[in-house]
Symmetry: C2
Subunit: 395 residues, 2 copies
């Protein structure tokens, strides 16, 4: 079925259970689907943009209220919508990082944090992970000390991912922030895998910046996201323009430099807004999501030769698994080689695995119903059995 000239309709969410590691939290809610149809056109939220002409002042639709609600949702003072978490990172590095500055992130940081630092000429330096693939406060303290020795000054910024994208492991965010603050280093909390799927309390964590991703975890269209901060830091990161036309003497009012004025003027913002009541509700059911995730992990662990590479028991629905000793052994002899596995999953109605992957791979069960969870767990086991792998326990 076409949805445009030479454009096939996307049906993966309609036809399959999708366990793609990055897509799970960004599936639209039914309300968001309706809203994007109504607000599809370019500058659709700007019908009633009035003085001082800035996105977060718009009252109809209630963009202004949404901005305040968004700040409250992550328990910070002030929030702005941004074109993806990465643009939130960039706004913060644009404010604090000068050329040659050492900036801390972690051995499990997302590449967009590196790029945000690199774009300012900063030097990204990693806090090492420990043998369990966790970022600890001790490692953060050691790294800060080593930076002080080498650069003679503290880093102007530290990034910490609450859950990383590689393992979905939970890191010592609160403690790392505490350590950083002892050196007066502001901290950016990367909530790309938390904001919108589990409760986040920026004040409790004492984060200086909370960044979330709309398309990754807030059931919103791409690119969208949130950058929230404290009153104090807002003056810096959301500073308004001081530019002035040397000929015309024009000035540009309340436009914020790092936001480049307005950010999301249509469908992306309305999608975030329409999903928001549901997102606020769904974060309260994180425990149920974890139960689902653990059920699937149990199934995988029952397949002899399979290892969960992420921390265990799981604290997130994104999980990294090593099937070198199970499904990859099958692949060695299978006529479809590595493709047997993704293709068997497809035949069972499961999508989201990279075709050919049989060694180390990731999946995400976020948002599946209990019934879908059971089906997924049993599908892994069934494919294992069908291919002669030993399954332990009552499966």
């Amino acid at each position: 079925m076409k949805c445009g000239v030479d454009l096939e309709t996307r049906e993966v969410e309609e036809l399959y259970i999708n366990i793609d590691p990055i897509q799970a939290g960004g599936r639209l809610t039914a309300d968001a689907m309706k809203a994007i149809i109504a607000y599809g056109d370019g500058y659709s939220v700007c019908d009633n943009c009035r003085k001082p002409f800035r996105l977060d002042y718009i009252k109809t639709p209630p963009v202004d209220v949404f901005h305040r609600d968004l700040a409250a949702f992550v328990h910070m003072d002030i929030a702005r919508v941004v074109a993806g978490a990465r643009r939130g990172f960039q706004a913060v590095t644009g404010t604090y990082v000068q050329k040659g500055d050492p900036v801390l992130l972690s051995a499990l940081s997302h590449y967009t944090e590196f790029l945000a630092i690199e774009s300012q000429g900063g030097i990204p330096l990693e806090i090492p992970k420990n043998k369990d693939n966790l970022i600890t406060e001790d490692a953060a303290a050691d790294k800060i000390e080593s930076v002080l020795r080498k650069y003679g000054r503290a880093p102007p910024l530290l990034f910490i991912d609450h859950f990383d994208y590689q393992y979905g492991n939970e890191h010592q965010v609160k403690q790392v922030i505490q350590v950083a603050h002892q050196y007066d280093i502001p901290v950016l909390y990367n909530g790309a895998y938390t904001v919108g799927i589990l409760p986040v309390d920026g004040k409790d964590l004492r984060a200086d910046f909370v960044v979330g991703s709309g398309h990754k975890s807030m059931a919103a269209p791409a690119p969208s996201g949130v950058l929230a901060t404290t009153q104090e830091r807002a003056k810096e990161v959301f500073r308004t323009t001081r530019a002035r036309g040397d000929v015309t003497e024009r000035t540009f009012g309340v436009k914020e430099v790092e936001m480049m004025g307005c950010t999301l003027m249509g469908v992306t913002l309305i999608g975030m807004m329409a999903s928001f009541p549901h997102v606020k509700e769904r974060v309260l059911h994180w425990e149920q999501e974890l139960n689902n995730a653990r059920r699937v992990v149990d199934a995988l662990l029952a397949i002899e030769g399979t290892r969960i590479v992420s921390e265990y028991p799981r604290r997130h629905t994104l999980t990294r698994v090593d099937t070198t000793g199970s499904f990859d052994r099958v692949a060695q002899k299978h006529k479809k080689r590595g493709f047997f596995y993704s293709s068997a999953l497809r035949e069972h109605g499961i999508a989201g695995l990279i075709p050919g992957a049989t060694k180390v791979w990731k999946y995400n069960t976020y948002g599946l119903t209990r019934a879908q969870t059971e089906y997924l767990a049993h599908t892994f086991v069934d494919i294992a059995r069908d291919n002669g792998l030993l399954v332990n326990g009552e499966w």
Copy 2:
């Protein structure tokens, strides 16, 4: 009608003829409407993202082909999609502008160009407009010379808007580029009001960068846009990351620093793609659009006391008009004051004028049918007559 909790459905395009100056070129095509429904979810275009994991390499949907087509469409070598024209500006200033650098733009430049320069610590300097509100090659040459005298060096970049946002006037783009090149200054052609609504030939203009806006002029959802450049400049503005994890020794392959990796991963990109065949077609009918625009201008000029502030005859569908001597005179005595005018337009089914505006205002007839154009022209005249203003000619 609601399209979400506390969210009213937007119906302005269904119920009215919308002459909002910035919304006209960003109305979705029917194909884009269908495509955004199919691709509403967060990372919807990433189902088949494979090595080397970058947006413009995705084959299904044909994002790769679209990128090449987009470059060809503006007759440049290489194109990337960006989250609005402003993010295209920022990528270019991020590449070429250092702190303290003088950067040229014009007395009619959009504020986002100022912000893009300010975000890099550059100094925006305006090429003056002449008495007809046009930017000429002579003014550009004079300004460059004055920068050379004051700063001892040429600006690293010059912005020129083909048509400006204030008057919709056409400026001497080709000639200004030629002058800039005599000083080896690269030029960014701002096509926010051209790319997607009239033919743009970057090679013929000898532009170094062509920037367009998806939500302003390419019938696409916000935020979206295009940054296109030459082979030579692409190496600079689309340079790939050199970041390397000091602990993990990770590198990040083909990710482009100024793009922050990928830019539009879902509905915004698919909207651009679905509209693109229609956009390619519609730029060929620019003359008809101008005829429509001129018809409306004729009607306004027939109303005694009304002035067209934009250049005349019109070369663009965006027009600035001064009705201080006509509708504003009515407003002085009307019980609704200035609101009589926007409210009369609304009653006649016309939307897009800022409520209360009766002195100097802008409108855009882009995309109206001939019948809608006639209706709009006659509505202006009718409202004038209804309020006792003199109308000249055969209206």
